[in-house]
């Protein structure tokens, strides 16, 4: 039986985290180190279903979130994120520690995992059909993704769509869904059973919180998905639910322009992106009612 993070008593979790705790998320193993209570709290709430590994394993990324040295250690304390001893960001207030960890983990993958094509999009799956949701900021992509995850859809990722270069399949990450500002309230209202982490206020993105990924999704983190649809969602007040065709060439360019490493992959990036567009129907999706939106998505994969 694999050890899960939720199996660890809180004290044990904190102890391991202070020394270095290894977590698997999709194809990646992170060694996480922190003495911040907020980080332990966030992990306990949101990563309970994730497998914990031994210290003797190979880890892809060694990261640490801790208080900075000097006066800001105690007065209006700040924390920072270190990747193998290197700090790519400027420090943040200590109560943003968990959010900083999440951003840092995304940064690790986006900056290094060039074995894959990394798109900036959410990705979910139902009935063997994987649906990619590229999102412009403010378009409501995260709210939709969270609602889908809470309604029986498998969550693969909320931000980083990972395309395998060898088979073109989508590789799950299944990390918590990041929600901002109003989305947090909408999702709480949508499903009372939704488990959300402690919110971080006044971040550069506003108020930020994370939704615990469904256990069923976490259990299937090793199962890749075959992309069938690319849907550009757009929440618009009062709009009726509408699915219409989106130009494939346009979808190609959008994905390329918003990817983390399309250019880095050169011709391979072009071919991988093209194969994705070849395989998918591309849609514009306008909605204002979450329930109706979910209905439309069900029909898409019927």
């Amino acid at each position: 039986m694999t050890l899960k993070l939720g199996d660890l008593p809180r004290e044990e979790l904190c102890r391991r985290l202070a020394r270095g705790l290894t977590l698997t998320t999709g194809p990646f193993r992170f060694r996480l180190q922190s003495r911040q209570a907020g980080v332990a709290e966030g992990l306990a709430t949101l990563y309970a279903d994730f497998p914990v590994l031994e210290d003797t394993d190979f880890r892809d990324f060694h990261v640490r979130v801790d208080r900075v040295r000097g006066p800001r250690r105690w007065f209006r304390p700040q924390v920072n994120f270190w990747f193998d001893g290197y700090a790519p960001f400027t420090p943040l207030p200590a109560d943003h520690a968990f959010a900083l960890l999440e951003w840092g983990m995304n940064w690790c993958i986006a900056s290094h995992a060039h074995h894959y094509l990394l798109l900036h999009a959410a990705v979910v799956e139902r009935r063997e059909r994987t649906v990619i949701l590229p999102g412009d900021p403010g378009a409501g992509k995260s709210t939709l993704t969270a609602a889908l995850a809470l309604s029986g859809w498998r969550l693969l990722s909320d931000e980083l769509t990972i395309v395998d270069r060898d088979d073109g399949l989508i590789v799950p990450l299944v990390r918590p869904v990041s929600l901002k500002n109003r989305s947090i309230d909408i999702i709480r209202a949508f499903d009372a059973r939704a488990v959300l982490g402690v919110a971080a206020h006044d971040t550069h993105k506003g108020t930020v919180s994370h939704l615990r990924p469904p256990a069923a999704s976490v259990a299937r983190m090793a199962e890749k998905g075959r992309a069938a649809h690319i849907v550009f969602p757009r929440w618009k007040a009062g709009a009726s639910t509408r699915l219409s065709h989106h130009s494939k060439a346009d979808a190609f360019m959008h994905a390329a322009n918003h990817a983390f490493n399309y250019s880095l992959l050169g011709r391979l990036g072009f071919e991988l992106n093209a194969a994705l567009i070849d395989a998918c129907d591309c849609w514009d999706f306008e909605y204002s009612q979450l329930d109706e939106a979910l209905g439309a998505f069900e029909e898409l994969v019927a």
């Binding site: 130009s247 494939k248 060439a249 346009d250 390329a256 011709r267 072009f270 567009i277």
Partner: protein, 86 residues
């Protein structure tokens, strides 16, 4: 009177182009410059003609693509700026 020979166009040296076409819209990738561009149906067809035929002048291209010569000339000067053709 000597009429100067019409300019002959070809795919730029080292360009190494790849492309896809969906519903009359093209995307092209120039491997050496590592540039990706979206081109209209007309521009895409002109570029493909050149890729297949090596070297051609604007008039032969217009004939092969069933487009007005003036359109073809505009297209060629635009895609030349992208280093796709010379």
């Amino acid at each position: 009177m000597d009429i100067p020979a019409p300019r002959r166009w070809r795919i730029a040296d080292h360009a190494d182009l790849a492309w896809r076409q969906w519903d009359g819209e093209y995307v092209f990738h120039h491997a050496l410059a590592n540039d990706t561009h979206r081109l209209s149906d007309a521009a895409g067809r002109v570029l493909l003609q050149l890729a297949r035929c090596g070297e051609k002048d604007a008039e032969s291209l217009a004939l092969a693509c069933e487009l007005p010569v003036s359109d073809v000339e505009v297209i060629l000067s635009e895609i030349a700026k992208l280093d796709f053709v010379a």
